[in-house]
Symmetry: C2
Subunit: 231 residues, 2 copies
């Protein structure tokens, strides 16, 4: 089977037993929907097959394996979040919006973000996103190498936070709850003698449970601003 899968051009369009006609696009759609509706556990070949009304193994005619499918889904998300984004004004404002778009896009699909945020989809939507991001850095006055390094630091910071928050979001409810409550419970009862700093900021510790993305982003952007035009 391995050799025969994923032909470039598809001509035979045989409907499945349930009547649907499979498409690469339809499968990605369904995967995205499935991962959204049902929780973290929903994305499996078998469930996907059931949702599409086809045998699970039919998917292997469209994707080499689940990793291949995952990258296709991730690229779709990138496409959706970056759709119509063509920054014109201030480069910093452009980076800020790009960061929010990427972070927001992955937040809307936490399960997939947790699996794919660190991947290179090497597909069209990602190409366009990198093109835009590097363009913004160049507009900030950085030379080629610096622009690329700063873009890498920028997008990895955004993706890192997105991955962290998404992974937390995608956690099974009881586990997510336990992790969140830790700051308001376990950390509140630590001995003052052994943990003086924690005791002193005890009242503010619940802040640890909310995303630090915004704070980190603004700190990062301010550092970029300081360096604008230098190297």
């Amino acid at each position: 089977m391995a050799a025969g899968r994923v032909p470039v051009e598809r001509r035979r369009r045989r409907p499945t037993k349930a009547g649907t006609v499979l498409t690469e696009e339809l499968i990605v759609d369904c995967a995205l929907r499935l991962a959204g509706e049902h929780g973290a556990e929903a994305l499996s070949v078998r469930r996907l097959g059931a949702a599409l009304g086809c045998d699970p193994s039919a998917l292997y005619r469209y994707f080499h394996d689940t990793d291949d499918l995952l990258l296709a889904v991730a690229d779709r998300i990138i496409g959706e979040t970056m759709g119509g984004f063509a920054p014109e004004g201030d480069w910093l404002a452009g980076l800020r919006e790009m960061a929010h778009r990427v972070y927001g896009g992955y937040s809307r699909h936490p399960k997939i973000a947790a699996l794919a945020a660190y991947r290179v989809t090497r597909r069209p939507h990602e190409f366009r996103a990198v093109e835009i991001g590097i363009g913004l850095m160049r507009r900030g006055g950085f030379d080629k190498a610096t622009a690329v390094r700063h873009y890498a630091a920028f997008i990895d910071t955004v993706l890192g936070h997105a991955a962290l928050d998404a992974a937390h979001q995608a956690l099974a409810p009881e586990r997510r709850g336990a992790d969140t409550r830790a700051w308001a419970e376990a950390y509140q009862v630590l001995s003052e003698g052994e943990f003086p700093q924690l005791a002193e900021v005890r009242g503010e510790l619940p802040l640890m449970a909310v995303s630090s993305f915004e704070t980190a982003l603004e700190l990062f952007l301010s550092a970029l601003e300081v360096r604008a035009g230098q190297g």
Copy 2:
């Protein structure tokens, strides 16, 4: 069984069929070693049981489930990386070293980092790490709430990069290779008309394949430095 697991005090020390005497600590040790030696696939109850010379289900006497075990392993890693760390001098230098320790610790155990970097272990070693980190922020002259928010942004940035790089490291070799090569291959042949920015920095794009952790960390720390003593 669920009710009978994980008693607070263990008294009966029955050796397994293979002769080893199980301990919570021994299991965590073995898990850490196993995840290190063999690749990404090694961490399963069955393999762990085989490595320990006991039935897989015996582990459920020591940990509620694999998540519980994972958190114990993660806390062990935190303990190892933060061992003997008691920053004295410059608070920024302290944060820099802490960042390197955490990042380095997770880099040495990519498989576990990828699974646990975003978790709250709510265990002793983590308590100590947060105590130290918040203390450093206070030394920077930030008030309670700002110190906590900045610490959250700091540690999430470090953990985000650690998770990203670890997840990439933990990828199956052929997938990691494909992701890495993308910058030297797929991104090199994009049409100049459609992707002018990428075409211009083409020679520097392989930089995207190396970790941006250092760059991001220095940018972040410089932003903190600028704000020292304010709020």
